[in-house]
């Protein structure tokens, strides 16, 4: 019997990216260091072509292919485009930094692009195996990227930590998936959901599996009590990699949450909601409070990420379309802010100097009023103060959580975002109210300056007119999830 050839059209963007990455990989072999800009250029082209392929695909209802292991829907496409654009900006931000630190190599591009491919697979996964495949492709790229600065003991340590803990999390996730498989006899997300909702499934086994899955997910997203790796990896990795880890994969991570919990395990919602409440509350509290004590800005941003992921979970645990849309909006805008914040750190760093402590931002307003304003915008957006997009991100998750009836959770989280405001304010304080210690002029390539300025402006403009992005994601969620 002949096996039917699966419909490959829905996976075309992934296939295009894979082919182009292979081209980049091969072409790079024939280049020496002076010509490395060509690799950079080709990588950007690969990303943009993939984005174009995604955008030009005809609108349709969700299409399943590869025996229902892969889904192409509006939510997936939207998040993929956002993740790809983020990666493209990351390439631009990190170019000068990587050149100065001897990291501007072929493997840097291919690892980053393969990790991006992993994100795309993860976003489109409709089956436990595809989810795992995408996740590991993403994670393996990240492990290697953190260790890219081979001679740095700090980076190597961070990579080791990341790898060991990440492997443990994958193990937890797999174990949970196997329990669910044992309970339901299915691996496809829809089949699992159908089996769970018939009520013939052993609830206890399914719940135990769920605990492991939530733990694994929480690990990957970096929320308390599975957050230990976040501060160390953020601090230890070269800033260019921190920028990567802190932004694009988070978008894929939220898609992962929505697919797995919101689709596959939706019938167990009342169980995972309770777990997520605990995780969200702990993340908000620990992230915000611990961030105050940090003097290293990368570490501070690591704890701030933990608290932001707590907010994302508030949207997810509402377990409604509104909640998933809010979480997607939050994560999209968060990656914009993350790009801005780490971009500023990269801008202030230069050959032989890492701008890593909060002190390095001292007197920035005197050195460059414009970039101080950009950083101000990023910080108030992270603190959730209007007129910045961060405010509307918080507003939408809070609305979703309140609509789901979690009044006290909302009150608790707004109180903790007050705590959070303090350390963001401290950055504004050192920029505007302290004298500069470092009077070195701000360097930075032209394209980086322009992009970073646009990044700041985007945070502001989306803070005034959030509607387009909001309706895009709303529409995507409504179209894709039942």
């Amino acid at each position: 019997m002949m096996t039917a050839i699966p419909n490959i059209a829905p996976a075309l963007p992934e296939i295009i990216l894979l082919s182009l990455v292979s081209v980049v990989l091969v072409v790079d072999l024939f280049l020496d260091d002076a010509q490395r800009n060509l690799t950079y250029f080709l990588s950007q082209v690969a990303i943009l072509v993939t984005v174009l392929a995604l955008v030009s695909m005809p609108h349709s209802a969700p299409v399943y292919t590869f025996s229902n292991m892969f889904v192409d829907d509006t939510l997936g496409r939207t998040l993929k485009v956002l993740a790809l654009l983020t990666v493209s900006i990351i390439f631009a931000y990190t170019r000068a930094y990587s050149v100065q630190r001897d990291m501007f190599k072929g493997e840097y591009f291919s690892l980053m692009l393969f990790a991006t491919l992993g994100m795309m697979v993860l976003i489109s996964a409709n089956h436990f195996l595809t989810l795992y495949l995408g996740l590991e492709l993403l994670a393996l790229g990240q492990y290697a990227l953190v260790a890219l600065q081979r001679d740095s003991a700090r980076s190597t340590e961070a990579a080791m930590k990341y790898f060991v803990l990440g492997a443990l999390a994958s193990g937890l996730l797999l174990y949970g998936m196997s329990m669910i498989y044992g309970a339901t006899g299915a691996l496809g997300l829809q089949q699992v959901a159908t089996a769970l909702s018939t009520g013939t499934v052993d609830h206890q086994v399914a719940t135990i599996g769920l605990v492991f899955i939530v733990a694994g997910l929480a690990f990957k997203l970096g929320v308390v009590p599975f957050h230990m790796w976040i501060p160390d990896v953020y601090e230890g990795a070269p800033t260019s990699m921190t920028l990567f880890i802190g932004t694009a994969p988070k978008i894929a991570g939220v898609a992962f949450f929505i697919r797995l919990l919101g689709e596959g395990l939706a019938p167990l919602a009342s169980d995972w909601q309770q777990m997520l409440i605990v995780v969200a509350v702990l993340s908000l509290a620990l992230g915000n409070i611990t961030a105050i004590a940090q003097t290293n800005i990368k570490r501070m941003l690591a704890y701030s990420t933990i608290s932001h992921m707590g907010f994302v979970l508030l949207g997810i645990l509402a377990a409604s379309q509104q909640g998933y849309a809010a979480a997607s909006f939050y994560i999209s805008t968060y990656s914009l802010m993350g790009l801005g914040a780490f971009g500023m750190i990269l801008l202030l760093s230069r050959a032989g100097f890492e701008a890593e402590t909060i002190e390095d931002f001292k007197g920035l307003n005197k050195r460059s009023p414009w970039f101080a304003l950009v950083m101000l915008m990023v910080m108030i957006s992270m603190a959730g103060i209007p007129p910045s997009v961060g405010f509307f991100a918080k507003l939408s998750v809070l609305r979703a959580a309140l609509a789901a009836g979690y009044t006290w959770l909302v009150v608790f989280s707004v109180m903790l975002s007050l705590v959070g405001a303090f350390y963001y304010l401290r950055i504004i304080k050192v920029m505007y109210m302290d004298e500069p210690e470092d009077t070195h002029p701000i360097e930075g390539e032209f394209d980086m300056r322009v992009l970073l300025s646009l990044n700041g402006i985007a945070i502001f403009v989306l803070g005034i007119l959030p509607q387009p992005l909001m309706s895009l994601l709303n529409h995507a969620v409504v179209q894709s999830l039942r």
Binding site: N365, P386, V410, L418, A421, F422, L425, M433
Partner: protein
Amino acid sequence: MTPYLSLSIWVPIIAGVLVILLGSGQDKAPLARKLALLGSLAGLVVAVPLYTRFDPALASMQFAEFSPWIPSFHINYHLGIDGISMWFILLNSFTTVLVVVAGWEVIKDRPAQYMAAFLMMSGLINGVFASLDAILFYVFFEAMLIPMFIIIGVWGGPRRVFAAIKFFLYTLLGSLLMLAAFIYMYLKSGQSFEISAFQALQMPLNVQIMIFMAMFMSFAVKVPMWPVHTWLPDAHVEAPTGGSVVLAAITLKIGAYGFLRFNLPIAPDAAHYLSGFMITLSLIAVVYIGLVALVQADMKKLVAYSSISHMGFVTLGFFVFNQFGIEGGLMQMISHGFVSGAMFLCIGVLYDRMHTRKIADYGGVANTMPKFAAFFMLFAMANAGLPGTSGFIGEFIVTLGVLQANFWYAFFAATALIFGAAYTLWMYKRVIFGEVANDHVRELKDINRREFALLAILAVATLAMGIYPKPFTEPMHASVNKLIQQTTMKKI
């Protein structure tokens, strides 16, 4: 129809952006100052029709502008004013001009950024008073904090950073709870952030109390009411003169305005239920803070405490729920805008010359600065509530309103008139009269033309309001009556 409200919001903001775009070089400073003055004057000019074209017979919102802003949240760009909010937009636009002039030569460090911060803040404050949509209100309410934070933190006194952060966090604490209350009411009211929809919402008493307290946290910090007032002396003392003027004259009014626009009409039953609590806090502010003001050694701190005490009068008037109380409170707010602004400007005049605010460092200033002494005398009298000045009108009407409600409330409130006279005039005596205290005082130069013009304008305003308050009260009647109606209606 000309969108006067949008103009009064966006003209100063755009002027501020233009000023900041000039760049912060010292050579650009004269141009920046002139552009800032032009921007603030333009802001005042577009605000004037709000008074001249205002129809005092109507209680409804006038100059309304409406367009959808964020449809997926049902948030609208909805502006409008009644006889209550109109005054504060005018007062704010007026104060901005004074503040720009007051900072003219005094601010040497990055004047463009200084002026731009004030202009943007002015536009945002106008937005706070003009918003009829709760989220729009919130956006303006919060956004306003950022320029103020920077003004205090960059151009302030020695402990400016501490004061700026304390100011910011205190204010944010309250407003976040208010945001949670807004979202709650949004869900209850069938997905609308319109303030009028909130006002129409029927809620049981316990819910009303929660909502009232959440909004109370926000506005009480702004007013500020005892015991959440402690940010104010710090912020006032450390802020540059212009910052103190705007804080005292305008931002404190936002808190009191919030009570009138949100707390009373949205949760009237809770307001009645908690009126004893509110009146107690107000009386503590009036009496206790009045005593605290008496012992201050720093002039700016003294005026800061006197502001808290005067704002205690305002909240006291609001929570007796009668026309005298509320209108008196509003008059007191406007008057306090003039008088406290003027007091801070006077202290600024002295500080610019002597670089000290300690009362003990002065003495006999009248000998070297006679013109200044005359102005300062007038404002001190107005601060003490002398008949014929604006300070008297507000305090007198509030006391009348409170007397209708309860004799003992009025009794305690009236003691504030005595304390007010005591601390203001005692300070005045120690600073202005007597022998010339030291060589620094002997070398003082009297006010220049710019300072004279500033103080003269405020003196005219103070006296005009004190002698003939009718143009001020008339546009209020209809709106205040409607408010009282809303307040007496049961919503349970």
